[in-house]
Each structure stands twice: as structure tokens, then as C-alpha cells.
């Protein structure tokens, strides 16, 4: 049983961390964090309303997500393509540093008052959180062969829906069905971990404010250590 679950634990911890980050970002500045579609939508709305500063901000924030993905690709995927071992701990360590910085700098007022939207201050907050999410999502996607993602649930839910229907028409007790069933449990587990993280975030962020970003930082640190132990 544990043998089956062990390879999943660190990815689920990261999914819970993503839930925490999204809740924290939303409660801090009323914006979802790892939601590129949402930023594109907000950009369109700001453009239509003539809110040029907001439109520029919403257009740039997803670029940090992209930068995060590129950084991960550089230290994970690029190394794999060159025949080297991927450095999972480096991007995860970077996430820890980013989130600890957010927790400390937020506590000192760099991002404005927690819960109040301020374009200039919150742009930096969203940029840092998006950067962390981009790094994390690319690491998980690459490391799990696209079976799992981490920081958003749309793709996972799509895969789950497709996988559930596949299971329906596959012959009972066939290996393919067992494989698809395992994939589905993994996807459902990732969604549950994200929701659990988001729920915990809803309790801790209103009390701890920016300091609560230390929690997902801790989860990323534990994940980095677990992955390092598996690959050493």
C-alpha cells in the first residue's frame, strides 16, 4: 500500500501548497494566482473599461508564470534532454525562497494591507506568487509525465472526466482499466489535496496574513527533501 502511495506524497503536498497559495493570493488582493485564463479575462475587462494601468498589470502577471515554467524547464527538462539528472530540488528550493520572501516582505508592508487591493503593491505580490506557481507546475508536469499537474485544476479535471469515461467502456479487470483507474485516483487525489490546502488557507490567512505564506513554503521544502531522498 505504502509502496503505491510513496511516489505520490510529495506531489500531493505541492498540490496542497498550491491551494494555500491561491487562497492566500485571493484573500490578500482578490485575484486568483495560478489562473492565466483569469488574468487574460481581467485584461480584456480592464481594456474595455479603460483601466489602462490594470490592463497592463493583468497582461504582465501571467508572464511571470511563463518565466517560472521556463526556469523549471531550464533546470529540469533541459538537463533531462542532455542526458543529465534533473535538478528537482533547485526549482523547489527557489519556490521556498520566493514564498518566504513574500511572507517576510508582506509582514513588513511591501504588498500593502492584507485584503485590500492596491494595484502597484499587489502587482509585485501576484508576480512573485505566479512565478512560484509557474516553477511548481512545470516541475510536476515534467516529473510525472503529464499525469499530474499541480497549481491549477482545469487540466486535471479535463483528464479526470476523460479518464472516467475511458474506465466505463474498458473491460472489467483489464490492465488498461486498472491503469486508467490509478490515473483517475491520482487526479482525484491532486484535486482533493488542492482543496484541502485551499480550505486550510481559508483558516490561516485571515489570522496570519502574509506570514501564512510560510506554510506553502514549508510544504515545498518538505517536498524538495522527499524528492531529494528518492533521487540521491
Amino acid at each position: 500500500m505504502w509502496k503505491n502511495i510513496a511516489p505520490l506524497v510529495h506531489w500531493f503536498l505541492l498540490a496542497a501548497g498550491a491551494g494555500l497559495i491561491n487562497t492566500g493570493g485571493f484573500l490578500a488582493c482578490r485575484r486568483f494566482v495560478s489562473h492565466v485564463t483569469g488574468f487574460a479575462t481581467m485584461h480584456g475587462i480592464d481594456l474595455a473599461e479603460g483601466n489602462w494601468a490594470g490592463a497592463v498589470s493583468m497582461a504582465f502577471v501571467p508572464l511571470y508564470f511563463l518565466l517560472g515554467c521556463m526556469f523549471s524547464a531550464w533546470v529540469v527538462d533541459r538537463r533531462i534532454q542532455r542526458g543529465l539528472n534533473p535538478l528537482y530540488s533547485l526549482p523547489l528550493g527557489t519556490i521556498v525562497v520566493l514564498l518566504v520572501f513574500v511572507a517576510v516582505a508582506g509582514g513588513r508592508g511591501l504588498f500593502g494591507v492584507f485584503g485590500e487591493y492596491d494595484l502597484k503593491a499587489n502587482h509585485l505580490l501576484l508576480a512573485l506568487l505566479c512565478l512560484a506557481c509557474g516553477i511548481q507546475n512545470a516541475v510536476v508536469s515534467t516529473a510525472t509525465g503529464l499525469i499530474l499537474r499541480s497549481t491549477h485544476l482545469t487540466g486535471t479535471t479535463t483528464d479526470l472526466g476523460t479518464g472516467l469515461v475511458r474506465c466505463l467502456w474498458m473491460p472489467k479487470n483489464s490492465p488498461e482499466r486498472r491503469l486508467e483507474g490509478r490515473f483517475n485516483w491520482m487526479r482525484a487525489g491532486q484535486i482533493a489535496a488542492f482543496i484541502l490546502g485551499a480550505s486550510i488557507g481559508a483558516y490561516v490567512f485571515p489570522n496570519w496574513h502574509y506570514l501564512a505564506f510560510a506554510l506553502p513554503a514549508g510544504l515545498a521544502l518538505v517536498s524538495a527533501v522527499l524528492i531529494w531522498l528518492r533521487h540521491r
Binding site: P7, G145, L146, I147, L179, R230
Partner: protein, 126 residues
Amino acid sequence: MLVLTHTGCLVMIECISDSGPVVLSLKGRLDSTTSELLETQLRTLYAEGHRCFILACAELNYLNSAGLRVLMAVRKTLAQHTPSGGIHLAEARSHVRDVVQLSGLDGLFPLHASLAEARAAAGGTI
């Protein structure tokens, strides 16, 4: 020695031995774009009468769920006609091993540290 090579921009499949278990060397990425090449290769060898395969994965950089599905499909064909047939994975790098273990398929596709170990497990001669 039989040498068959499929060269695409993303994957190269080379059959390096057909005595005993057939050893296929995989290089590059095994994903939705390239897994069809492997399936075609394995099914061709199956049609020629081969029932046991070792995939040498030392230079396989990437494996995803599409690649695993192809392995499952071929293994199903093997299991239907020859219970002793199978697919073994040798020299897989840590991230490829991770994907196999993550999927819970290391029971169906045994992972071996070396080709010699895989050949011994597959019942072939070293």
C-alpha cells in the same frame, strides 16, 4: 544481430538483439507523438514470433502516460497469447523509473538496473 532503426526528431528505436528476448534501445522521448512508432515496432516483432522484449531505456529522456498506454496495449496482446511473454525495462533513468512507479506499473513492467539483469529475468542468455 537485427538492426532496425526508426529515426524521428523525437525518438529513435533500435533493435539491438533478437536472440532470446528482443532488446530494443530507446532514445529520446516516448510520448503521444512518438509512442506509435514503438507500438508499430513491437507489433511487427510480435508478428515475427517474438514474445519477450527488453526496452533499454538508458537514453530514454522522457516517458509519459501515452507511452505507458502503448506498453500496456502491447503487453495485453502478449499476455493473451503467451503468458510467459512480457516487457522488461532496463537501465531506466530515475525520472523514467518515477513515472513507471507513479503509475503503479513496475509490477507489470519490471525495472532492471542493467541489461544483463533484465536478460536474466526475462529468461534469456547473458
